[in-house]
């Protein structure tokens, strides 16, 4: 099966400011996949998306869409549709004219264009807004117009550049849900750029974690979350981030929700790593307790640890008290002290 989008050894160097924005990226999407490019701002994810769209020319490497090299082809010839962060609706055109705009290049019949636009608008539930101008729409409605405008092109791939970042927090959750359902119904391959790990985890079939123009890890959300490839991925994904304890030549890592009071652990025959901690502060967040603590039992120096105790665990934890916590040995991860890359398990008994 041909990959819908594939990039090979892609590099982008900006002369201005001498920036290596994208530094040797290889990615291939699967048919109908929802691929999320995740990374902090300035990591090169948007540049990568713009190169796939044809808005930037790569310095090196190849871009293939539907098996054909599209380097040098203008955006309109690539069979892609893009939704921008600002939605980039044409402010002087009505919603209908915005949606029919991309069709003018390919469809000469005015009624056919109108019919197609109405179909897309109805699909997204904005059928009654066709006569309005973008400035009279809410953020969520604008996003749907932008999606409808992308949809009418019948693209082989959707490129979405942080389409939720302009919505308020409440709307974002429902819009995320709708985006996912929308893509599942259409089955169109989608590449989605975000800096928000929650969006990435919630939407992606696979996540590509990018830092400084390089891919750090590709995998399904669960895989990236529980088996991070390095300390960057371990701390960038997850809130609170993975606990990392410096042990000289290597770092010991475990997720806050795996680190619980000893009484709350069911051993099931697994080996437990037990340690005494000094609790400093407790935060109540959405029913969970976040426990900020220090321990001297895991490394040469005092280490700061966060534990996330789920609402279902009722064990008492006291601020400024000392308590025995534990983590299953299967939940321990090890990273190289120099490079931060994941390594073989080590002996952790103290």
């Amino acid at each position: 099966m041909a990959h819908v989008v594939e990039v090979r050894g892609l590099k982008k160097h900006f002369e201005k400011g001498d920036v290596q924005a994208v530094d040797g990226v290889d990615i291939a999407t699967r048919e109908g996949e929802y691929l999320v490019l995740l990374g902090p701002s300035g990591c090169g994810k948007t540049t990568l998306l713009r190169m796939i769209a044809g808005l930037e020319e790569p310095t090196e490497g190849e871009i293939l869409i539907g098996g054909n090299v599209v380097n040098g082809l203008p955006p309109r010839a690539r069979g892609i549709a893009m939704v921008f962060q600002s939605y980039a609706l044409y402010p002087h055109k009505t919603v209908l004219d915005n949606i029919t705009f991309p069709l003018k290049a390919t469809m000469s019949d005015r009624d056919a264009r109108r019919e197609k636009a109405t179909w897309a608008a109805d699909l997204l539930g904005i059928g009654e807004l066709l006569g309005r101008k973008p400035r009279h729409l809410s953020g969520g409605e604008r996003q749907r117009v932008a999606l409808a405008r992308a949809l009418v092109r019948d693209p082989s791939v959707f490129l979405l550049d942080e389409p939720l970042s302009n919505l308020d927090a409440k709307l974002r959750t429902s819009a995320r849900d709708e985006l996912k359902g929308f893509q599942e119904r259409l089955g169109t391959t989608t590449i989605y750029v975000t800096h928000d790990q929650v969006e990435a985890m919630g939407l992606g079939d696979r996540i590509v974690v990018i830092l400084n123009g390089k891919v750090r890890q590709i995998g399904p959300p669960q895989e990236v979350y529980s088996n991070p490839a390095d300390t960057f991925v371990a701390t960038f994904i997850g809130s609170p981030p993975m606990n990392l304890i410096d042990r000289g030549d290597h770092l010991l890592g475990f997720r806050p929700e795996n680190f619980l009071p000893l009484e709350a652990m069911s051993s099931h025959g697994d080996n437990l790593l037990e340690v005494d901690v000094q609790v400093h502060r407790i935060e109540y967040l959405s029913g969970d307790r976040h426990v900020y603590a220090t321990t001297s039992g895991l490394g040469p120096d005092d280490a700061h640890i966060i534990a996330r105790i789920p609402a279902t665990v009722n064990v008492a934890v006291n601020e400024n008290g000392s308590q025995r916590f534990a983590v299953h040995e299967k939940d321990l991860r090890f990273f190289d002290g120099e490079t931060g890359v994941v390594t073989e398990p080590r002996q952790v008994r103290t």
Binding site: R50, A53, G54, L55, P74, P75, R76, I80, A81, M82, F84, Q85, S86, A88, Y90, P91, H92, K93, F101, P102, K104, A105, T106, K133, R135, R149, R153, T235, P241, N243, L244, I245, D246, L251, H280, R281, Y292, A293, T294, A303, H304, I305, I306, E319, N320
Partner: protein, 325 residues
């Protein structure tokens, strides 16, 4: 590993104890209100110089001009005698006035059309990235920074009836046989005036329209490109509609500037040959100041005021309606 935890964990370990500390000491007395705090008085004080300037330099001369146009005042006889509409009927009956009126309209319409088209093209070029952009921008702005006196000397030489380098070049290419006498023939003289005026105003118009181009969000241009719009469709459906408000402002300023301008006419032709390039502002100057007939000069100068006012209001309203961003 992460020092953030320490700041969170230890630094704020017992927030309750902090809030139960000793009572805060009473606040020190606020300083008395001074003159500098009295915004009502200060605002009026700061506005005063501007208001005085406008009254002295705009309102007073304007009212004086209206009074003059209904009197028989001349530089030789400065006593004001009310004569009703006599000056107005005199100028409306004069052939030169109507020539000047026609010329003003022709001059303004043709030069504004040229200015807007050229400025749009230049703005389109200058917003792009290319090598030597800085130098091209500098060259485009140069005419605006050239002192009028210097420009006048150059243009008088370029358009000279005997020594015109333009004629030399045209002759060298075999395009003309004899000299053109640019400023000696009515149509060529008007053309020359329009050309020089366009040369002077294009830089400002370019800068204004360039600002309009740069105000279009980059993502809208990207979206148009993805949506398959080529250069012309993008220009027709995106760039021009989105720069209309600012272009309208440029046209308004340019038109008023052109209507009221007599510099180019004065320098190149002084209204000649035989009043063929006279415009209302130059005619008002020659009549009222050089000829000494202040009353008629005032009437000529005021003639276009209602027209300009109406045009300005209409354009500004249209701009407000078409504001889209």
């Amino acid at each position: 590993m992460t020092p953030v935890h320490r700041a969170d964990g230890v630094g704020t370990a017992a927030p309750e104890k902090v809030t139960r500390g000793p009572e805060p000491t009473p606040r020190p007395q606020l300083p008395k209100r001074t003159f500098a705090d009295n915004e009502g008085v200060l605002a009026k004080l700061f506005l005063l110089p501007t208001v005085l300037g406008i009254i002295g330099l705009v309102a007073f001369p304007f009212i004086l001009a209206i009074v003059f146009s209904f009197s028989d005042v001349t530089t030789g006889n400065p006593s004001l005698d009310f004569v009703g509409f006599r000056q107005w009927s005199t100028i409306l009956g004069s052939r030169v006035f109507w020539t000047a009126f026609r010329n003003t309209i022709t001059f303004t319409v043709i030069s504004m059309a040229l200015i807007i088209v050229i400025a749009h093209i230049l703005a389109n070029v200058l917003v792009r990235d290319f090598k030597g952009k800085w130098l091209v921008r500098f060259c485009v702005l140069l005419p605006w920074t050239t002192p009028v006196a210097l420009a006048a000397v150059s243009w008088l030489w370029l358009l000279n009836s005997i020594f015109s380098p333009i004629d030399w070049v045209l002759r060298w290419f075999g395009l003309i046989e004899a000299n053109m006498y640019y400023l000696g023939r009515p149509v060529l003289a008007m053309g020359s005036i329009i050309a020089v005026h366009v040369w002077r105003i294009v830089p400002v118009a370019t800068v204004i329209i360039m600002a309009g181009h740069m105000a279009i969000p980059g993502e809208i241009n990207d979206a148009a490109e993805i949506d398959g719009a080529g250069f012309w469709r993008k220009l027709r459906e995106i760039t021009i509609p989105l720069t209309i408000p600012i272009s309208a402002v440029a046209v308004l300023f340019g038109a008023i500037l052109t209507f009221a301008d007599m510099t180019v006419v004065f320098i190149l032709t002084r209204g000649g040959p035989t009043q063929a390039t006279q415009v209302l502002s130059s005619w008002a100057f020659f009549k009222g100041i050089e000829g000494g007939d202040l009353a008629q000069g005032a009437a000529v100068a005021l003639f276009l005021f209602p027209l300009l006012l109406a045009a300005a209001i209409a354009i500004l309203r249209a701009v407000r309606r078409s504001e889209v961003m």
